[in-house]
Every structure is written in structure tokens, then in C-alpha cells.
Amino acid sequence: MTVQLRLNEVETHIGQYHIIQGVSFEVRKGEVTVLLGRNGAGKTTTLRTIMGLNPASSGTIHYKGEDISRLPTFTVAQKGIGYVPEDQGIFSGLTVEENMKVAMKNDNDSTKERLELILVLFPDLKKFWKKPGGLLSGGQKQMLSIARAYINDNDLLLIDEPSKGLAPIVVEKVMETIMEMKEKTTIVLVEQNFMMASTVGDRFYIIDDGRTVSNGPMKLLKEDEEMRRKYLGIA
């Protein structure tokens, strides 16, 4: 299977803090790769480093064979990497429609098809189409954030804790959507909710203290109670 993204011994500093101290992993095309770890392990910073929002201080990041570790954020995005941040990052002053339009790179048939699918997956977005994003509930904001990343033909999606702070019923909806998106896009998912991560994930990487400490097929982690207890604090 083709490797779409490869991180090799990536290190990231934020100010004086050495947050990522050696993260390496591979993302295979068509799979959902889940980054797991305790709070503060460096999962979010890893995604931000891939996007160039917190540039890597050393190591390399290759996307489709090209080194993207020194590229500015907008160039990384233009290469076909979509990002759904932890805080949703929607534009609250713009309407749902405007949020979607800002995110659209093209206005072709493929985009229109995706938009139709998005509105089927998230009917609430259609309902609030002309309303400011700031008026949406937490779950709706998360849906809008995912929809914005999914509207384009991105080959890779980085999704940061999509279930955070959401009601269980909304989490289920988000999970269904990720399963649907998996058919068309490769996904890197950061998730604390192990039930969700193990359902949608194909492969896992555990990050601990800014380093990748373990990896393998998701099935392995589901069966290894000791590893879950050691690194994730769950049995």
C-alpha cells in the first residue's frame, strides 16, 4: 500500500518548550491512522507541525514523496491536506454558506457532489445555511468544521479530536461521517475517545512525552489491555 505521509524523527519547539521530541510515523493511502496518547503528549502539536502552523525544528515530513517540512501553511494546504482543528476554527461572523464558500478551492462538479453529500450527512448545516456560524451549537460547529475540510478533493485529512465536548449522539454522527469519508480520503485522526478511535481506525500510533512509542494495527491495541493501561490510562 502506498505511503502518503511520512514523518521521520520530527521535533518541534514552541517558544522555549520542546514539545515534540522525535515523532515518526507513516500514513498509508486509504487508511485511518489514529494518533493516541495522554493529554499533553503532543498529538495536536504533531498535526499542527504537519500543517506548518508550528514548524518542525528538525526531522522531515514527506507528503507523496515531497518534503513539506519547511513549507508555509497555505502551501501545505494547497497540496491537498485538509485540517480540522481541535477548536473547530469556524468563522463565527460568516454564515454557514460563507464558511463553506471560503473553504471551496474549486466550484466544479466534484465539489457540488461533495456538497450534496455533506448536506445529506449534516442536514443541520442546510437548516442554518444563511445563519452566522457563531450561532451554531458545539456539535453543529464540529460538523461545519469537518464539512469545510471535506468539501475539497483533499487526499489527506488531519482531524483533531472531533468528539471533544460533544454529546454521545453527536459523537456517533461524527463517527458515521468519518466512516463515510474514509471511502474517499486518507485520514489522520487524533482522538481521546478510544471507543471511537478503535471503531474507525485501521492503524494506531501512540505518542508519549513527544515521542512515538508504539504502533501497529488497531486490532492489536484492542487486544492488548496492558498497553492501553500503560499509555492511555484505560483498561
Binding site: L53, Q78, P85
Partner: protein, 332 residues
């Protein structure tokens, strides 16, 4: 519904425009005519500032430099050459080129910085222009400034009033279109969250520079009209007061609304006039700047969204309450 509201607002704008066009022919007052002309000129200036502050989230303390460039360019052209329409048009062209160049270079060099650094740097560069205007006496006549003649078609106060009014309407319509375009949406996205906009694939710097150039050119245009209205220009056009006026007009009217900048310009200019008039009643009103300071503090404390923003908020709350009541009815 939105279209209906839009049509209603357009009807209001049209009615106000017609009223202002007819006004000088039905109500003869030289003072009012001059005052309204100033309002139109500063409304253009405030709208240009709103593109920076309200739509892109850029705080500039040096916006007066573009205003001053426009004012001095037209002044120098009309003084050194014959005050004809072709020379006036040439001075407008030179203003566009100069303001575009300065805003482009300045934007490219400083818009990478965090907003407060940008604000301080623009203030410093505007200060340089002020010093240049003071010291380059052979061209600018220093602090004293100079008077100049204008083309015949601009000599009549009513004609000039109408030219300023039409210019303000044209700038408003142009900027409405600009802010509602895909480019305008990106600017608003930048205002909301720069990093998020960047991670959608937009080069934030590129868009900020576009906003800076558009804003700079329009500020230059208002400077041209200002100098023509006085037929005089001196270094005061480069001072911080001019930038603060734009800031005050935009904040009081409502940032990110355009129409708020026009209302703000009207309020500030009329307040300035009335407070100066009140100086005959009590000397304290001579220090009208103190009252402006108080107005500014009160506006920021109690109306942070400005007049238009507050009205929109009240309207929105009313709608939300209606929706909630309708929901409760259905539930019961």
C-alpha cells in the same frame, strides 16, 4: 427574507441619497453645505479605514499618510502647473500610483508582523512623511503649507458638494461589492482567524496586502477631495489626529459595516461643529477634543459594536426571542 431586507435597505440608501442630492437646491445654507461636504470626504476616509480594521482586522495608526499623500499630490500639481482638469486627473493618477506603491511596500514589509507591531510601524512611517512635509520646504512650504487654485468646475460649492456626494456613494457601492465578493469573504475570514484561513490554503499576507492597497488608494482619494475643499494644504494632513478621527468614526459607527463609517463621519463632523459653536456659551467647549475623548471612552465601554453593530444586535436578539417563543408555543 434576506433579499427583502436587502431591498428595504437599498430603498433606504436610495431615499437618503436622493434627499442629499436635492438638499442644496431646497435649503440654502453655506455652512451646512460645507459641513456635509466634509462629512462625505471623511466618510470615504473612514470607509477606507473600515476595510483595514473592520473587514481584515488590521489596526493602523498611520492611515493619515495616505490621506496626506493625496492632499499634497493634488496641491503640488495645482500649484506648480495650470489648475486644469487634465492636470487634476494626472494628480489623481499619481496619487493612485503613490498610495498603491507605499501601501504595497509597507504592507509587504510589515503585515507579517503581529498587529500591534504593524500599528506602531505605520505610526512611525506616517511620522516620517510628516517630517518630510515639514522639511522639504521647496515643494511643501513646510508647516505653513500653501494655497492653490482649482479647476473652474470645482469652484462652485454646490457642484463640489455633489461631486463629493457622488464619490462617497460610488465608494460605498464599490466597497459593498468588494466585501461581498469571494475576496471580501477571505478578508473577513482573516479577521476572524488568521491561522485557520492559512490552513484553508490562503496566503494571508497576500490578502492583507490587497486590503492595504485598496484602503490606501481610497484614503488618498479622500485626501485629494479634502485639499480641494480647502484649496489649501499643510502638514496637518499627516498628523495622528487624522488617523484618530478615522478610528473614532469607524468605531462609533460600527466596525465592519461600511455604512457605520458614514454615520460615524457624520456624527463626528457635526459634533465637532456644534461643540465649536458652543464655545460662545462656555470656554470649556473650545477644548472640544476633551469631549471627543469622553465620547470615545463611552463608545468603547457601552457600544463596542458601534451604532450599526448595536442596532443589528438588538434586531437579532428580537428575532431570536421570537423564534424561542414560537418554539415554546409549538412545544405546549
Amino acid at each position: 427574507m434576506k433579499q427583502l431586507m436587502g431591498n428595504r435597505m437599498n430603498a433606504v440608501y436610495l431615499a437618503v441619497a436622493i434627499f442629499l442630492i436635492i438638499l442644496p437646491f431646497v435649503y440654502e445654507s453655506r455652512t451646512l453645505l460645507i459641513l456635509l461636504t466634509q462629512v462625505f470626504i471623511f466618510a470615504i476616509f473612514a470607509m477606507s479605514y473600515d476595510i483595514l480594521l473592520g473587514y481584515t482586522g488590521i489596526v493602523s495608526f498611520g492611515h493619515a499618510m495616505f490621506f496626506g499623500i493625496g492632499a499634497y499630490t493634488v496641491g503640488v500639481f495645482m500649484k506648480r502647473f495650470e489648475p486644469t482638469v487634465p492636470n487634476l486627473l494626472l494628480s489623481i493618477l499619481v496619487t493612485i500610483l503613490l498610495t498603491a506603491l507605499v501601501s504595497y511596500v509597507l504592507g509587504l514589509l510589515t503585515l507579517r508582523l503581529k498587529s500591534h507591531f504593524y500599528a506602531m510601524l505605520t505610526m512611525a512611517v506616517a511620522g516620517l512623511f510628516l517630517v518630510l512635509a515639514e522639511k522639504w520646504r521647496t515643494v511643501t512650504y513646510g508647516n505653513d503649507g500653501f494655497t492653490f487654485r482649482v479647476p473652474d468646475m470645482l469652484k462652485d460649492r454646490t457642484d463640489f458638494y455633489l461631486i463629493c456626494l457622488v464619490s462617497m456613494i460610488a465608494v460605498f457601492a464599490l466597497l459593498k461589492r468588494f466585501t461581498n465578493s469571494p475576496l471580501g469573504r477571505v478578508l473577513q475570514a482573516i479577521r476572524e482567524n488568521e491561522q485557520r484561513t492559512e490552513s484553508l490554503g490562503y496566503s494571508v499576507l497576500h490578502y492583507k496586502v490587497i486590503a492595504s492597497v485598496v484602503s490606501g488608494i481610497l484614503a488618498g482619494m479622500s485626501g485629494i477631495l479634502y485639499a480641494i475643499s480647502l484649496r489649501f494644504v499643510n502638514t496637518s494632513v499627516f498628523t495622528m489626529d487624522i488617523t484618530l478621527d478615522a478610528l473614532l468614526m469607524t468605531i462609533i459607527g460600527g466596525v465592519g459595516t461600511l455604512v457605520g463609517a458614514i454615520i460615524g463621519a457624520g456624527l463626528i463632523e457635526f459634533a465637532h461643529h456644534w461643540l465649536t459653536e458652543l464655545a460662545k456659551v462656555h470656554w470649556i467647549f473650545e477644548r472640544w477634543i476633551i469631549f471627543f475623548g469622553i465620547i470615545y471612552i463611552l463608545a468603547v465601554m457601552f457600544f463596542p459594536m458601534g451604532i450599526v453593530g448595536t442596532l443589528r444586535n438588538i434586531k437579532f436578539k428580537g428575532k431570536k426571542e421570537k423564534q424561542q417563543k414560537a418554539g415554546e408555543k409549538i412545544a405546549s
